[in-house]
C-alpha cells in the first residue's frame, strides 16, 4: 500500500485516489486543430521513467491536485491543489 498526500486531507491510502493523467496535457481548442495535435492529446504520453507530474483526484473528498512522484522509486515529492497550482508562476 502507498500513501498519497491529498493537499487537503493529508496522507491517505492509494485506494482513495484516481489517476487523472499526465499534468500539462491540455485539450486542444478550436476548429482548426490538426489531426496530429488531436492524436497527441488523445494517445501520446511521455510516460517518463523517473520524476513525473500527474493529475490525481482524491475521490472521498473530491480534491483535484497535481502530484510529483517518481515512477521508479514510487517516492512522492509533493502535491498541490489545482487551484493553488494555477496561481504558481
Amino acid at each position: 500500500m502507498q500513501l498519497f498526500p491529498c493537499p487537503f486531507c493529508g496522507p491517505r491510502d492509494e485506494a482513495e485516489f484516481h489517476y487523472g493523467g499526465e499534468a500539462g496535457n491540455l485539450r486542444p481548442d478550436g476548429r482548426e486543430v490538426p489531426a496530429g495535435r488531436w492524436a497527441d492529446y488523445l494517445h501520446m504520453r511521455a510516460n517518463p521513467k523517473g520524476a513525473t507530474r500527474e493529475i490525481w483526484v482524491h475521490v472521498t473528498c473530491g480534491e483535484f491536485f497535481a502530484m510529483e512522484r517518481d515512477t521508479v522509486t514510487h517516492k512522492v515529492a509533493g502535491s498541490v491543489s489545482l487551484g493553488e497550482a494555477e496561481q504558481q508562476p
Partner: protein
C-alpha cells in the same frame, strides 16, 4: 423445457429491521441511528454558520463531535450538518454564498460503541489514529463513508450511502465474535 431463472435477490442478505437490529462483537455494539437531520452544505461556511446558528467548520476524520447539532467536514468547501432537530435553513441556493442539500434519506447512520471501537476502526480504515485529518470522508470497509466520533471517544458514527447499508451491516457482522441480534 422452461428455463429456471435464479432469484438474484438471494445473493444478498435482506436488510434487517433497522429499528431493533443489533450486532454485538468483541467489545463493541453496532446499531442503526434513525431520525437524524442531515444537510450537505457547500460554499461559504461563515455565511452558513451565521444563517444556521452553528459554529466551526466541522470535525475531521475520527475526531470527536459533541452536542445535539454538529458539523462534519467532508471536503475543502463542503460539510455535513447533523442534528436531532429540524434545521432552520431551507435546502437550496442561498445568496449569502452557500448551497444546502437535504441528505436525510441519502445517508444511513450507524453507531459503533464500546471499548473495541479502536479495533473496528483499525479493520475498517487505513488511517493513522495518531494523525489528524481535516476531512471525515474516507474509505470505510471498502466503501465511501463519513466517520467520526460522537459524544465519547468510544462511540463511532458512520454515515454511508443508504444503498450500501445492508453491505456494511453484513461487514460488521463478520467482525470477531460479531453476532447479529
Amino acid at each position: 423445457m422452461a428455463e429456471v431463472i435464479p432469484n438474484l435477490a438471494d445473493r444478498w442478505p435482506a436488510a434487517p429491521d433497522w429499528a431493533s437490529a443489533r450486532i454485538e462483537g468483541a467489545g463493541f455494539t453496532v446499531r442503526s441511528v434513525a431520525g437524524l437531520r442531515q444537510l450537505l452544505v457547500s460554499g461559504d461556511f461563515d455565511a452558513w454558520n451565521r444563517a444556521s446558528g452553528l459554529m466551526g467548520q466541522g470535525v475531521g476524520a475520527l475526531a470527536l463531535a459533541k452536542g445535539a447539532a454538529w458539523q462534519v467536514r467532508v471536503a475543502r468547501d463542503r460539510l455535513l450538518a447533523v442534528s436531532s432537530k429540524p434545521f432552520s435553513v431551507e435546502p437550496g441556493w442561498h445568496g449569502e454564498g452557500f448551497a444546502v442539500t437535504r441528505m436525510d434519506a441519502a445517508l444511513h447512520v450507524f453507531e459503533v460503541e464500546g471499548e473495541g471501537v479502536g479495533s473496528v476502526i483499525a479493520r475498517a480504515t487505513t488511517l493513522d489514529p495518531e494523525t489528524a485529518s481535516p476531512s471525515a470522508a474516507m474509505l470505510f470497509a471498502g466503501v465511501n463513508a463519513i466517520a467520526y466520533r460522537h459524544g465519547a471517544r468510544n462511540r463511532l458514527r458512520v454515515h454511508v450511502d443508504c444503498g450500501l447499508a445492508a453491505y456494511l451491516w453484513e461487514w460488521f457482522g463478520q467482525l470477531p465474535n460479531g453476532v447479529a441480534r
